[in-house]
């Protein structure tokens, strides 16, 4: 097998987008990025004009001789947030929006530990509930850093929609939308008991965090039961 040494002028490293020196390729003003430049793509093609490495062909032969496994990918999306010390997730389709934390106006004569009051969301009053209290999550004491006056709070109000009801609840922090496959969901540990167990679908382990995937329906039935 011939091993012809390829002579490649890596002008993209020399005068192109990845240059370290001052000299700049005049073409760069026209093409903006080297990947739009014909020189760059032509050199890329040149690399493919080289003979394959040893063993490559027999390896490909082996790979191609086996049947392709097409696994049905059951990808779902979830909205991840934190209340207290707990990372939780809800199916992302129920999330209407996330807004900055506002004032929660408490309602007199209501003895509910779930209902926090009313919040103003784009000029409309929405019911505000505490998801932590339903699940029995304890309030976390704020760290000194969080109590500092210049600390920007990551607290947000999450607005969700369930069976045409809009409900808002405050969260300590929002992570965003994640993608997961159903086989990534583990059963909740047996030590999880009480209301937490009732509303937990499973545990998702992502980025070193244990995220509790919540059952949307039972949870919001409970949340909106008293004030539908």
């Amino acid at each position: 097998m011939q091993t012809a040494e390829l002579k490649i002028d890596d002008c993209w490293n020399r005068i192109g987008i990845w240059r370290s020196g001052k000299e700049k390729c005049p073409e760069l003003d026209i093409v903006i990025h080297c990947r739009n430049c014909p020189v760059f793509s032509r050199t890329g093609h040149k690399l493919l004009r080289t003979p394959p490495p040893e063993g490559y062909r027999s390896e490909c032969t082996k790979v191609l001789a086996t049947k392709k496994e097409i696994k049905p990918l059951n990808v779902k999306t979830a909205f991840v947030f934190r209340t207290g010390n707990n990372w939780l997730a809800l199916p992302s389709h129920m999330i209407q929006e996330v807004v900055n934390m506002g004032q929660i106006h408490s309602l007199p004569n209501i003895n509910s530990n779930v209902l926090r009051g009313l919040v103003n969301i784009h000029g409309q009053l929405q019911i505000c509930v505490s998801i932590g209290r339903v699940l029995g999550i304890e309030k976390r004491t704020r760290t000194e850093e969080e109590l500092a006056p210049d600390h920007i709070s990551p607290e947000r109000l999450v607005v969700v929609k369930q069976e045409n009801h809009l409900v808002a609840f405050p969260v300590s922090e929002v992570k965003g939308i994640i993608h997961y496959t159903t086989d990534m969901v583990k059963d909740p540990p047996v030590t999880v008991s009480g209301s937490k167990a009732v509303y937990t679908e499973g545990i998702l382990q992502l980025e070193g965090k244990d995220i509790g995937l919540l059952k949307d329906r039972p949870l919001f039935k409970k949340l909106t039961k008293d004030f539908g």
């Binding site: 093409v31 014909p38 394959p52 490909c60 001789a65």
Partner: protein, 151 residues
């Protein structure tokens, strides 16, 4: 539609990707005796014995070059009485696709390279690209015979 661009000898060709099953690297294949020169052999494609056609042999009577850009295009080929069967075609420079406005093969069987890149900044675009239709290029009788040998 999306076109797969490749080369055979000096010519550039375009193939409608709807006909393409998969593009795979060069593999090893078994020789089939008493077949035309352009039949490179039989490959094991996902458990099925699949005839491999060397398009270089077919067009230019030279063998393919063993480089990374020489690839095998697996197409769906309708074989008389057997339905669609995978057929492997070896071509050069199978490295590009182009998304084009047209919905059916061009009337003259050729498209200008320029028309592929109307809004892109690629200057050397004055080549003629020929429309590649496996059924028109290959002899139907020969291919059917290959599938019979394999059965």
């Amino acid at each position: 539609m999306l076109l797969l661009l490749f080369e055979i000898g000096d010519g550039r060709y375009a193939l409608d990707t709807n006909q393409v099953l998969e593009i795979v690297p060069l593999v090893k294949f078994k020789k089939i005796p008493a077949t035309p020169d352009y039949v490179a052999g039989l490959m094991n494609y996902r458990g099925t014995g699949t005839p491999v056609i060397d398009l270089n042999q077919l067009v230019d009577s030279v063998s393919f070059e063993d480089v990374l850009s020489t690839r095998i295009i697996i197409v769906n080929y309708p074989v008389a009485g057997r339905g669609d069967r995978p057929l492997a075609l070896i071509a050069n420079n199978v490295t590009e696709t182009a998304s084009v406005q047209m919905t059916k093969p061009p009337p003259a069987g050729v498209i200008m390279d320029k028309s592929l890149y109307e809004d892109e900044i690629i200057p050397d675009t004055n080549n003629i690209i020929q429309w590649f239709d496996p059924q028109k290029t290959l002899s139907d009788k020969d291919i059917t015979m290959l599938f019979e040998a394999d059965a």
